[in-house]
């Protein structure tokens, strides 16, 4: 029980900022030249009065630039770019768990802990990582290589249990052994193959591929050009009819006179 309590307290990421030497208002941050171009292309996607819609994209960009985390100075910079208050950016950055507001290790291991993965053994995977790297959830290993976090479903439930690394690559169909294997490879500086770790191809079932064997046919598309033409024709016809009717009425009216 006590263990559970301690785990619980430790597992919480802080919702407030802690002033540190490496992360405060004065730490220098600016987007790189290349990223500024990216910023411009992101901003171009939104109407100028709704600039703030670009906030998540910019935060993600900043996170990429800073090796996996968003420093406070980056948030302030983004608030300047988007012309919103600093607090608005803090709110968004702290709401989404995919933004790290503290530095992470070289490999940020995000283990899915949602029901399907959990049923298939996500807890063992977490335990393996904890034991191998000597860290608990939300901690970074001493050598600076690994950070472990538990996240919600990443949409690869067919290949449960799975982990995502640095928000990009996924490693699926894990067992404690394969997980350990992966960790060893990273420690040795090697890059393991992404995808299922049990020899399975994509998300094929145990009997291999059983359906959809032929070449996929081209999807059936509506011929929009024709639809448009039809529509235009119909309109024109209607207009003609209406005109004819009008003319007739005018004639009648004259006859009456």
């Amino acid at each position: 029980m006590l263990y559970r309590v301690i785990r619980r307290t430790l597992s919480a990421t802080l919702s407030t900022h802690r002033q540190t030497a490496y992360n405060n208002q004065d730490t220098p941050f600016d987007f790189t030249e290349a990223n500024y171009k990216e910023v411009d292309s992101i901003l171009a996607k939104y109407p100028p009065q709704y600039k703030r819609s670009a906030m998540i994209n910019l935060l993600y960009l900043a996170q990429k630039q800073c090796n996996g985390w968003v420093p406070l100075a980056a948030m302030n910079k983004i608030s300047k770019i988007l012309e919103v208050s600093e607090m608005d950016v803090y709110e968004v950055a702290s709401f989404f768990t995919m933004f790290n507001r503290e530095p992470v290790g070289k490999y940020h291991l995000q283990v899915c802990g949602t029901t399907p993965c959990m049923v298939r053994g996500a807890r063992e995977i977490i335990k393996t990582i904890e034991n191998e790297c000597h860290i608990l959830k939300n901690q970074t290993s001493k050598d600076g290589l690994f950070t472990l976090t538990e996240v919600e479903c990443l949409g690869a439930c067919v290949n449960a249990p799975m982990i995502q690394v640095n928000g990009e690559e996924v490693y699926e169909d894990l067992t404690p052994e394969t997980m350990k294997n992966l960790l060893d490879m990273w420690k040795a500086g090697k890059e393991p193959n992404v995808g299922p770790q049990n020899g399975r191809k994509n998300s094929e079932g145990p009997m291999g591929r059983t359906c959809l064997k032929c070449e996929p046919q081209a999807a059936q598309f509506r011929d929009f050009a024709k639809v448009k033409e039809d529509y235009a024709n119909k309109k024109a016809e209607e207009a003609k009819k209406a005109e004819a009717k009008k003319a007739e009425e005018a004639k009648k009216a004259q006859e009456k006179k």
């Binding site: 619980r8 002033q19 600093e86 607090m87 709110e91 709401f95 989404f96």
Partner: protein, 714 residues
Amino acid sequence: MPNSSLNNNPINMLHQLKRYFRASSRLLNTIEVFIDGNSIQVPPTFTIMQACHKAGVNVPHFCFHDRMAISGNCRMCLVEVERIMKPIASCAYPVSPGMRVKTQSEMVYNARGGVMEFLLANHPLDCPICDQGGECDLQDQSVVYGYKQGRFLEYKRAVEDKDYGPLVTTIMTRCIHCTRCIKFSEEIAGMPVLGTTGRGRETEVGTYIGRLMTSELSGNLVDLCPVGALTNGPYAFTARPWELRIINSFDVLDPMTPAIVVNTRGPEVMRVLPRIHDEINEEWIHDRSRHAFDGLKQQRINACLVKTQDGFKEIDWEQAINMAAEKLNQVSGDEVVGVIGEHMDLEAIVAFRDFMYRLGCENIEARRHGIQVSADFRANYLMNSKITGVDESDLVLVVGTNLRTQHPVLNARIRRCVTQNDLKVAVIGPSESLGYDYKHIGNSAKTLKEILDGTHPFAKKLEKAKLPMLILDSSLLKREDGEAIMALVQELGNKYKLVNPEANWNGISILNSSVGNIGALELGITSKHIPGFKPKIVYLLGADNFRPEEIPEDAFVIYQGTHGDEGAYRANLILPGAAYTEKSGTYVNIDGRVVMGRLATSPPGQGRSDWEILRALSEVMGHTLPYDDLQEIRYRIAELAPHLVKYDYVEPYNQTEWITKAKKGDVVESVFADQVDNFYMIDAISRASPVMAKCSAAFNHLKNSNFVPEFPNR
């Protein structure tokens, strides 16, 4: 508690109606809705909650607040609407014709009970040690909707307390995330420093980076918070609401005279809260109004004192009065100067005026260094557009004042209009952050001249504006070229539509800095400033903000007042007076509104109401003033100026015509400086207040330093 006296006054009602028609005619179309079966007519813009309130049905709520945007996140206001399956958050749902709302059905009770259960899941049950206990919305509503037992068996969460400064204590574990404080800081105070960070169970309300809440209006957060998460720092653990006596009064530390409630327990003032008064302060007061009252318990003069070789010696009233009389008898009237202090009530000013005139002294000074324009007509020294004029105006030009530190409550009103009515603001003078976007167009009277010539780009805007306003700080009129500035402003008023008799509009609003000042002007007291004149006796009536060099070395100084401040320091004889919470007094605010401050406690020690002291002194001197009680002195005021006994009312005056024209002259083009360098310490009371001292240490250091302060890292 809405101010009902306001609506009872027929003349006030007329005024309100006028504005009502000007504001909108669309309010007049109404639709019919049914609240608990009773039909009621409401405007189509109403929400269900507003309709319920109009029907007299109370809907419990946490996040909804009249004066702020709807956020709809507490869900306490759920009601049932016929033909809609789910309960509806009434604060955020507009009415539609024929809508049938049920507020007492079983579904509603269950829904609200569920919301309450969730709120209480993480709310600590520490009511016995919580300052909000007894006036807590959550407590009250859980009596009605709370289940007798919670089903939440997990651990409650705990949240780190935040540091908002010495005025607002935070116990954030109690926060129910209604976001009222966030909306306040963003919408009213104009400082978007608060927000919700984190998600789910880890959600916190705070500043994220641990900064202070440096708004002059920060005290209002405490009133807004429906639970005990934000509580009144200085008042912490001192009293319970049911022990307090409620005295409805007006504050005089702010020349706007916001409506306040003074809470006392026994002989002691425990706290000051704002009262709703739509035509003055809406619902807010600034931190000095709210917290400086503890200066009334410090540095007080509670006995008559006379200066001797070895310091001040205590004497009794008889000796003191006799000594004053003797001194005053020794000189002729024109060798005496009277100075009226900034918090003086009309009663004291009238008594002082009569007394001095009887002595043959006409040299009474009420304004620190004297406004240089004629005070014969109210339009010359009052806010001609009225405080509510801000709501109607479409362009405001602020001249020579930093509204945020000098008139924070007025500034909040302007901010509201900037966001709601699309009001545009331009500033000539100090360019501090005001909490909204404004245009800084100049620093000195030169810009005014350019606008008058039409050479300044702002002139075009002023031309186009329908009801423009020019807010002028009275400190500019105290400069040597005060009259010339006034002349310039009057010319501006005539050239542009600042003064517009057709619309019954005069947008030239002069912001006076103290009620004592306005009161004296209302009673026709203007100083004769004779350069080089050396009085033999100076009578300071609660006057502390004077320049010491104005009083000659050898003059005998009588100080009648409340605090051991500048005045008492220089005095030879000290008579203990009463402060604004200790006497019944009437005051005139910057609008020309007469407000009545009520006696909440009695003055400490031998202190007496100021007019009583003057009455006694006059009797000893043989010039007995002809009034013995408050009623009689108010008759005397009515005799001098009948409009000064119509309470909570602004006597209409011909404001659209300058009866006296200020003399034109050369305007010095020096920069309009900020008049307030320390918002927290302006007068004798706030200088004596320990809370204000703490604030000034905590906040001004932020203001005055160029480097980023160390954030507390707890």
